[in-house]
Structure formats: C-alpha cells, structure tokens
Amino acid sequence: MLQVQDVSVCYGDIQALFNLTLQVETGEIVTLLGSNGAGKTTTINTISGILHLRQGAILFDGKSIHQMTPFRIVEHGLIQIPEGRMLFPDMTVFENLQMGAYSIRARENRQETLDWVCHLFPRLMERFPQLAGTLSGGEQQMLAIARGLMSKPKLLMLDEPSLGLAPLLVAELFKIVSQINQHSVTILLVEQNAVQALETAHRGYVLENGKIILHGKSSDLIQNDHVRASYLGI
C-alpha cells in the first residue's frame, strides 16, 4: 500500500534520512521505532508531503505522491496524526471533528464516521461543546486520533501517540489502535515506547541516525539482542 523507496531528506546542509526504504501492506500495523532525533518525525512528515525529499520515491496505492502537496495527499486517504496533536485549541471538540472531515472524500460519509468515532471514544461525545484547548492531555490525544479518523484514512500514521500519557492511558491507546486496525485501516505507528509498539504491531522497522538498521516481524524483533539492549532495556 505504501512504498518508501531509497529516500534521502536534508534540512539545509544536514542530511536527516539516508536511503530509507520501508513498506506497509494493506491491513498491517507496522511500527517505526527509534530514539529521539533518529528521524522518525522527519520520515512521517516526508510521507505527508510537508518535507521534500532530495532523492528517492514514495508510492501510495501505486501512485507516486512525493511531489504532491500535503492537502492532496490527504485526499488520497493517507492521514497523519502529528506529534504534539496539533489540535485547533480555540475550536470546540465537535468543530475539531468537523475539520477532520474536511476533505471531499471524508465529507460524504461523515455521519457514519462520526457514529463510529463516538463509539470508539464515548468520552469525547460528552465534551462536544468544550474548547479543545481545555481538554486534559489524554483527552486531547483521543481527540487528535478521533479527528484523524474523521478523515476516513486508508492508511493512518500516528506519530508518538503515547508521548506524555499516563501508563493506564497508554495501554488503552494501544488497544484502540488495534481496534482501528480491525476496522480495515492500515496503520504506521511511530513510537519510542518499543514494548507496547511491538506487542501491537505485526512488523517493525528500527531507525537509527536516519538509517533503517533492522526490520522484521515484531516477534523476531522482540528476540533481537540489539533491540532488547537498546529499546526494551533488558
């Protein structure tokens, strides 16, 4: 479904990604692991069209997307839930969800999507008239995911969704990620929290200093000595 082929990205003179190749098949949950500054957000922003690549190609559903603007990429059903949530703080929870269904693709079935999202996040429904900026951190993360789902993603990319959440909420969050996946949404999960991410995902990639150094099935990665030492703390 998504193919990132031999991609290099630079910020000015500094190269952030080196010949990065990864792919996500329809129906999978794939996780991209790495520590701070490894290039995870750079990768995801390049896929979303916010950053431009210096070399390589990105294909989504067989179409080349690396020269498209971010808003056209959204119309193809490739949705990012960014790190730091990027909600609209002075708009209500409901308006944020409406903004999720902004793309033409998402507008048609927005009522159905809204019902599903409310079913996933019953707590948000009680908060429809509240301003998004006044929600707690956990609720804001739920809203960010709900808003992303309102865009009717074929492939949903989550950038560090567990960042700053209490452990109990983190567990709930990963459960929701699996539920979304069962609803035939393919998922690319960018995480620092390797334990939970590998338990949830089918496959994983490990990113260090802008290079993919390892990839494979989650069950294999959990056994890998390097992963155990660097990311699982075992």
Partner: protein, 286 residues
C-alpha cells in the same frame, strides 16, 4: 445633555464600527498568513474612492452602491495575495514579517501615487442627505443609523461564514495551527488568498462609510494601516474577535473626547491603547 450623549454614542459606535470592520479584516489576514499588511489602509481608501466615483456618476444611495464593490474588492485582495504576498511565504518567522512590511509598504506607496495621479490629491467626500429621524428632542441622522446597520450585518455575515461553512472553519483552523490544518486536507495557500479577499472587502466597506462621514485623500492609507495595527494589538494578536472590541473602544473614546476636547481625541486613543497593554500585555482577548 442626554441627547448629546446619545448622539456621541451613535457617532462613536459608528466610528468604532468602521475601525472594527477594517481591523477585523486585518486581524483575519494576520492570523492566517502571519503577514503585516500595510496596504490595508489603502484598500480602505480605494473603497472610499471607488464609491465616490460611482456616487458622482449615478447619485444613488452610496450604501447600496457599496454592494457592487464587494466582488470587486474580493478579487483585488485575492490577486494581491497571489501576486505579492504568496512569494514571501517561503520565508519564516521575523524574515517573513519584515519582508511583508517592505512589500506591502511599497505597494501602499505605489497605490498612493497612482490614485493621486489619476484622481488628484484633493479631499473627496460624499455628502448624501437622507431625512433625519426625530425622537423627542433628539435628531438622529438616518444615514448614520443605516451605516451602523450595514456594519452589524456585515460583521454577522463574516461571523456566520467563520462558524458555519467549511471554508470559514478551515480559515479559523489555519490561524490556530497551520500545519494541523494542512494535515486535515486544508489547502492553506488557497485559504490565504480567500482571507486576503475577505479582509479587503472589510477594508473597502469601512472606506465607504469613511467617505460618507469624513473625507478621503490618497494619503490617508498608511496612517490608517498603522492605526489598525494598533487596534489588533490592543484586541490581542491572533484573536479575531478582539479586533472588533478594540475598534469599538477606540471609536467611542475618540468620539467622546473629540466632542469635549477636540485636540485630544487622537492622544486619548493612544492613552487607552497603552493603558490596556499595561493591564493586559497580550491585549483584550489575547
């Protein structure tokens, strides 16, 4: 005395309404594009000038003539953004602000020269009489009341646009988080052009009232732009509705001090600005 106070309040609200309209337009533009548009006052002047030209040609009610200006000035603002502002958006932060000041100031000077070349530098005003309304001992100018009504209608229309339409919501979303809006599929560049169009409509509408109540010359644009900048700072940068409040406060202050101590009206306005910023450094609603 009561009649004077009512009159002053009407004049003040109308004057404040004019400020509020134009400042609201500038706040929209700043919020979406992070561009300080010093040509904003010139669009007000052009709005006044065009309605003056139309009025001289037809002698119709200048407020009704202003309806023709709406699509015209939307197009003007839209194209202004496409041609002069869009190329600047590659720059970030203070570079963008400085570049935008230089470019829009240059555009202002050009507009000033072009208008004084073609239509002359002298003062122009529309003196349009409508029967006054008498209430007891009070005489209220009905063109002023009609002006107020137009300002309220226009503000409500923009408010509904911002709240109820997809494009309006996308505009607000862009002011609150540009990248977040982009990731939801908002073409933030198109929103930037539309916002310039709407902001320019508001400036030109304020210009119509300006030319009816006062007079215009080609040289009022730049000082007015600076005044509107003050108003949006007073209302709170980034707060769209703060500019409305700031404009109203400034207008009423100017009208009241203008009656009792004419020389002090501008000074009083800036005293209020400073006082508000001392108490609330981020502005009224910032």
């Amino acid at each position: 005395m009561a009649s004077i106070i009512v009159q002053l309040l009407i004049i003040g609200t109308l004057q404040g309404g004019i400020y509020a309209l134009a400042a609201f337009g500038l706040a929209l533009i700043f919020g979406v594009s992070n561009v300080l548009n010093l040509a904003h006052g010139q669009f007000l002047m052009l709005g006044g000038l065009f309605s003056y030209i139309l009025f001289m040609a037809t002698k119709w009610n200048p407020l009704l003539l202003s309806l023709i200006l709406i699509p015209l000035f939307f197009g003007l603002g839209f194209l202004f953004e496409r041609g002069l502002v869009r190329p600047l958006l590659e720059r970030k932060g203070h570079e963008l602000v400085i570049a935008s000041i230089l470019v829009t100031l240059g555009a202002s000077l050009a507009i000033e020269d072009i208008t004084s070349f073609f239509w002359g530098p002298e003062e122009k005003g529309i003196s349009y009489m409508m029967p006054s309304i008498q209430m007891g001992s009070m005489v209220i100018s009905s063109i002023r009341l009609l002006g107020l009504l137009f300002i309220v209608l226009l503000t409500v229309a923009v408010h509904l646009f911002l709240k109820k339409t997809y494009t309006g919501r996308a505009l607000r979303a862009t002011t609150q988080n540009r990248q977040g809006a982009m990731l939801m599929g908002v073409n933030t560049f198109r929103i930037g052009s539309i916002t310039f169009g709407i902001g320019t409509i508001l400036a030109s509408a304020a210009g119509v009232f300006y030319v009816i109540l006062f007079t215009i010359t080609p040289f009022i644009g730049i000082p007015l732009s600076i005044k509107y900048l003050c108003i949006i700072v007073m209302g709170g940068l980034g707060s769209l509705y703060g500019s409305l409040l700031g404009g109203l406060i400034l207008g009423i202050t100017e009208a009241i001090t203008g009656y009792f101590a004419p020389h002090w009206s501008e000074t009083a306005a800036f005293f209020i600005l400073v006082a508000i910023l001392l108490i609330r450094p981020k502005g009224l609603l910032g």
